[in-house]
């Protein structure tokens, strides 16, 4: 059970949060101009890395804010959390 440092609330138990998959997948600005293949890339393709991964998390039972997290999936170590719209602090 992680201890997650919500950028708005501070450290809270994992049970207050929900995970939202891979981060930094930007919704295309002009979807109609994309081929089926390009749209499918956005829609379906997600990485599943063993190691450091950038993820979206939501403080669902707290401030309800979405934020991003740098997490090592091999040992669950959370290296950093940062707000939506910000660049990842480490890579």
């Amino acid at each position: 059970m992680f201890l997650i440092n919500c950028p708005y609330c501070g450290e809270r138990d994992q049970s207050e949060f929900s995970a939202g998959g891979e981060a930094h997948i930007v919704r295309p600005k002009q979807p109609t101009e994309l081929s089926d293949g390009q749209w499918a890339e956005f829609l379906f393709m997600r990485k599943n890395i063993k190691g450091v991964q950038l993820e979206r998390w939501n403080h669902a039972h707290g401030c309800r804010k979405w934020f991003n997290m740098v997490r090592d999936t091999s040992n669950d170590k959370i290296h950093a959390v940062y707000k939506m719209g910000e660049k990842p602090p480490i890579k």
């Binding site: 201890l3 939501n58 040992n75």
Partner: protein, 1001 residues
Amino acid sequence: MSKNLRIANSKFIDQTSRISFKFDGKTLYGFKGDTLASALLANDIHLVGRSFKYHRPRGIMSCGSEEPNAIVQLGNDPSMTEPNTRATEIELYEGLEASSQNCWPSVNFDIGAVNNFFSPLIPAAFYYKTFMWPANFWKLYEYFIRKSAGLGKSPTQPDKDIYDHRYIHCDVLIVGGGISGVMAAKTAAKNNLNTVLIDDKNILGGTTLFQQNESFKINNSYSNDWLKKEIESLNSLKNLTIKTRTSLAAYHGYNYLLARENLTDHLNINEKKDKIRQRLWKIRAEKVIIATGAIERPLIFNNNDRPGIILSSSIKKYIDYYGVKCGQKISLFTNNDSAYETAISLNNSGVIVNSVVDIRDKTNSLMVKQAEKLGIKIHWKSTVVNTNGYKKINSIEIMKLSDDGVAVIGKKIKEECDCLGISGGWTPRVHLFTQSGGKLKFRDEDNVFIPDKSELNQISIGSCNGDFELDEVIKNSLNSTNKFLNVDNNDYKNLEIISSKEIDKKNIWLLPSDKPMGKTKPFLDFQNDSTANDIKLALREGFKSIEHVKRYTTTGMATDQGKLSNMHALGIIAETAGVKMGELGTTTFRPPYTPLTFGAIVGRNVGEFFDITRKTPIHDCHVEKKAEFENVGQWKRAWYYPKKNEDMHDAVQRESKAARDSAGILDASTLGKIDIQGSDASEFLNRVYTNAWSKLEIGKCRYGLMLNEDGMVYDDGVTTRLGENHYLMTTTTGGAANVLSKLEDYLQTEWPELDVYLTSVTDQYATVSICGPNSKKILSKIIPDLNLSDDEFPHMSYKNGLIDNIKCRVMRISFTGEHSYEINIQSSYGKSVWEKCFEAGKEFNITPYGTETMHLLRAEKGFIIAGQDTDGTMTPVDLQMNWIVSKKKFDFIGKRSLYRSDTIREDRKQLVGLLTDDPKEVLEEGAQIVAETNKKPIEMLGHVTSSYYSPNLKKSIALAVVKNGKKLKGQKMFVPMKNKTINVTITDTVFLDKENKRLNA
């Protein structure tokens, strides 16, 4: 007691308070302080069960949580009985009743024991190999296997006991209250750290608590006396919490741990009453110190499983702690020094020690010399090649080992005994360390895995860290603790420690016998009944990975997770395969460390507390009207309102007819309501719904369909424009929370530039819906100053009104196709508005209707229910709702997906209506639809999604999804059921009032 197996000198057993208990129906006596196991042994009962596969008699083998054999069923009431408890951990109480578990019909006469004589026919994976084919015979086999294996019996009634959950946050958690744990706790607490010390026994002290031996002294006192004073000194420490009878079950990441505290399991039935039985502690610790000690290993030799063969250290605990002799003529068999400590204890208590059989050539440690001085006979460089005695050991056979240790030589000596203590060395209890993700390293000199690297803020100290000698335990524990806690505790600086040191080490994983291997039974996993031979067979059959061998032979797969067997399994695999044990790796220990009761896991979340129940503000009115309720998510919704003698069908037919003929009333408060405000609110709706919103006038309502990004229908509902920048969105009852989350997600992550604020107001408003040709008249009685003319207040518009001076919003919208109004008012007035509508509607026979009638009425009109007629694979086009998809809008959620090659396919499953040839025949929802009846295999073209008997149309109607359905209108289809085939015709989805005349009736 036939024999006197109890000695009087135990300090831990209260021999003045006798306790009576029952085992296998026989009344026996023990004392306060006993475990069930120690009391049984005091009554000379060793035989407690049968082995899993061969049904061999098995006896108590240990004194703790690692016990593989003494697994008993607690309680005699089949409704409340508890299976799979360990007799070594059950504290004796007055009236306790227990029985052997793994035997049928009784422990002394066991039908399955015949397996033992056929045992060459039951090799590794016998069950997999034999009973898996033919596959459909498994249910026959399983019945017999289960019955004769007797895997314990489940209680038949709900658990009446109370369980609890609580949280602890602490600076330091110490797991294990042996000597190193006690010293660490004192160090931490004295340095102002908020400290918690837990131990699974009823008192602290571990094995040092009863270690009274010349070879182990601290500051001139026996180690036990010294430790006792240390434990007493803990009482004065204010920031130390001690929890005994508390077993650590799981160690998760981020130092999150679960521990189970037994509060009443040791009390008698009267004392237990109305008390919390077990409490699960959820612990978040800044730092964790693991001090869980070590488990003694058995030795693996022929027939090493007979009742009366007990771990040597357990024999010591039974005599020194419980005052119980495990036998009167005890032999010991060892590869290390610790059996000598047992020999000395037995000797001091007047028990005859026949001899110590030691596989080592010779050794001269302090303790061995002490034993020799007492005249204890030692067979050096020898092994036990066989044991005799069916239900209890009566003799052992000893032979000399060859120099290389792989064979036996010389003459066989037979030694009579009634108990054999075995010691194969020690295995650090690294279970919690590995559960937490820690990596182990292998120490070659004594073949142990010890903690290496961990990502967490934790250390292991004492023998769980591989320190087995008293002086090392003390010194290393202190150093590690001081460093880890960053403190300097001087209390223990100048301790004078006398500690016997083990000088010579020797290990043979599988001890040789004078018989060929195939004729021997060297047991490895006592609980799952697998032998060293099974492991060798698995290797011969090509298994290499320890994880595979483990599953194939089931070694280490029982409820004890191989606490005794794993190291030997690894050793034998390494030896046979010719690899180093360290390279082989080890299997993973998973939580819980010992089995947890379901009660402890669920705590208070049972019955009505299992989940939240949401009730509308009008709920009491429905109860009063004798409504039946259905669960919709967490909501209780009125389903139908049966009158006297009515069943569901009758009630729904009556309600449906009343709603169309005169007036119906529905509690729609559960619909999700989201208040949307901000200067970009219109743009936001444009992006989340498929249709256009910018031109919606203030005061008007519009139906919207929401898609997922993959183009599939997600939710629907009516949204009302309350002001220039203000909307009220409604969602389905079940979808409310998810829709809000989804919208928030888009707002926060994709479109942060939009000035929009979302607020859930589902609970803030009650919604009363009245429908039918008389609804207008009823509303005019309640809000007389509202102009209800169709020009002033047309369909799909809203007005503010006042009911008794309370503001309300009235929407003229319809889910039934009837002229209808929805009154939204602050929740607290919901009930009064409902009652007012009733009063006003009396002259029109206003009829309350539930969700079932609502579903029927909307189906007559062909309106979909998202989640019933859609299943996440339906696009708006599939639903034949092209009209709601804006062609002009540049983008909305899911738009691009509507033009994918798969979504534009013409032959997708599409929503259609179905009429049965026999108008009385009502289809089953979920029934399959086919085009032909006599072809095999037959293609399933679709299924029925909604089906009802319509009292208004006097025929059965249904909605269905059918492949290429749009083009099949008028076609005959078939619905094959178990006993008949129903003929149907594909139709339009709208069955009633295609011209929508009733909306303005």
